[in-house]
Subunit: 328 residues, 2 copies
């Protein structure tokens, strides 16, 4: 009996989930729900239906886990507590500061309706969070470092595109090698924002735009660029499409700590990701947690969970016996 | 109310657990159990008692979790099923091939007596296993690689010391950089034993021993060295003690996989450890799982568990709210 997956929202993340379902034999895609006219949306999975988002509730007995692929700013705070009334749900809510509030909202609705809602699934929050937790539990006397990149920051690319005179743009976040090496060497450096990451911008100008003025505007933009060493390259639209159309990302989570009666021994735990496609990797994590959600619900559990609350074995299609024999 | 820890076996690992208890405010060391005469064993923790191993059962109401610090060859197969009758226990059983059998024995005794037994805790098996499981669940279409080192292999050092004419010795396992780089580059290489690791031996000879003969004996020793490029250095005992008395270790777990409708995107997940003290790091993992064992038992759970079966939040002294606010 396969886990029947629904996808709500068919952008980069939704398409990634569709691909991930195809890679997991115990999963099948039942339907995709969209705000657009279903007739205008063509999906890759021939057996899957495309439906109006407003008809989602009709599918409550035909979908085991609904994967919510909307954005964290406005979609998920409303959608996750709403759809957990009808389904077990997974989301990738990534506004760190608002997680406690989102958790409470989803937990109340999930418990009232006997469903599981797993929030903030992906790689950060998600796999990076898990690695921070494990490393902190093992080395209580230590220091955490998270570096992101090299990768495309959607938020920073959007900020560039909002500037008058900018036709198109892509921004890469790049970790500073010397900072990473200092952490790895165990020197426990205090690193400023500027010392940890640089930002590289590839910008296509509208005809007649003032390059020098725009470069200045970018480099002084508060929050986004002012606190970083930022490089700006002006390129043609053709070059942008040819060389910068991918959505790679990745990063590093490190914890440097000490053990011993006199704190005399150093240890370094490092986790890193190098991803050709940020949305497809995130989707792959979502699907593994969809498997967990289905199992937890089958056991009669309900409520909101995060990656912290779920035993790793629930993510795998293998049995406990198989896991112990092959991966332990 | 602190978690009262018992240590059974006071070698390198037992002393590491003692140090780890000191680093965790919610833990206290109640007693150390030894096969030696307790009067001859001096521990670092003034408040802890030193007792005969045969008296351990008398402590069943005064210890929340007993940490079994014996060896996997003969101690743990007998001790873990025995002591789980009286205590919640943690062990670091690391004979991969015998884990299923060990699990079954511990599970039966643990369930009969209403205790929790967590086996095969440490870094491999342990944290490396967890990373293999997470990475396999996320990237089902991929390939696993585990590299060990640079670090001291106790088993290989022992093998050297058993050779006639060898007074003392230390062996380092070293991952081959070019193999690691090939994996990181996503080329999914098929690597032979020889291509993955080299072995470096530091050997102190008995007076009058034949160096050339011993070097030949080492390099051709089946299982231990014959399948590797092995380097042998003959050094003085003084140099061995000065430069090779530590017990560092570490290693790398990597999974290289693909996603996308046409498997067009590559991803690399890498986890690595760089440890000044193998036994102290292992002990730090044991203590984190001792916290989990105490909590699981307090919830009324029983039976044998591995790191695969335990939700990450159980390892941390922080509450769910604190974890979500600070680490997610």
């Amino acid at each position: 009996m396969k886990t029947r997956i629904g996808i709500l929202g068919y952008g980069n993340l939704g398409r990634g989930v569709e691909c991930a379902v195809r890679q997991n034999d115990d999963m099948e895609l039942a339907a995709v729900f969209t705000r657009r006219n279903p007739a205008d949306v063509s999906v890759l999975t021939k057996s899957a239906q495309v439906c109006r988002i407003n008809d989602a509730a009709d599918w409550k007995d035909k979908i085991d886990v609904m994967i919510l692929c909307g954005g964290s700013a406005t979609d998920l705070p409303q959608q996750t507590p709403e759809y957990v009334k009808y389904f077990n749900v997974i989301d990738s809510f990534d506004t760190h500061a608002r997680i406690p509030e989102h958790f409470a909202n989803v937990d109340a609705a999930a418990k009232e309706n006997g469903h599981i809602g797993i929030i903030s699934v992906g790689w950060d929050p998600g796999m990076f969070s898990l690695n921070r937790l494990y490393a902190n539990a093992i080395l209580p006397d230590g220091k955490d470092y998270t570096f992101w990149g090299k990768g495309v920051s959607q938020g920073h690319s959007d900020a560039l595109r909002r500037i008058a005179g900018v036709k198109n743009a892509k921004q890469y976040t790049i970790p500073v090698d010397s900072a990473l090496e200092a952490v790895r060497a165990g020197s426990n450096p205090e690193l400023s924002t500027r010392e940890k990451h640089t930002r590289e911008c590839f910008v296509v100008l509208e005809e007649g735009a003032d390059a020098a003025k725009i470069e200045q505007e970018i480099k002084t933009m508060p929050n986004y660029f002012a606190d970083y060493d930022t490089t700006v390259h002006f390129i043609s639209e053709e070059e942008l499409l040819t060389n910068h159309s991918g959505i790679p990302h990745g990063g590093f989570v490190l914890r440097s700590g000490v053990t011993g009666w006199e704190r005399e021994h150093k240890h370094l735990i490092e986790y890193s990701l190098k991803l050709d496609s940020n949305p497809e990797f995130t989707s792959s994590v979502l699907i593994a947690y969809a498997r967990a959600a289905h199992r937890l619900a089958s056991e009669g559990q309900s409520g909101c969970k995060t990656v912290f609350d779920i035993a790793p074995a629930y993510l795998s299609a293998k049995s406990g016996e198989e896991l112990r024999a092959s991966l332990l």
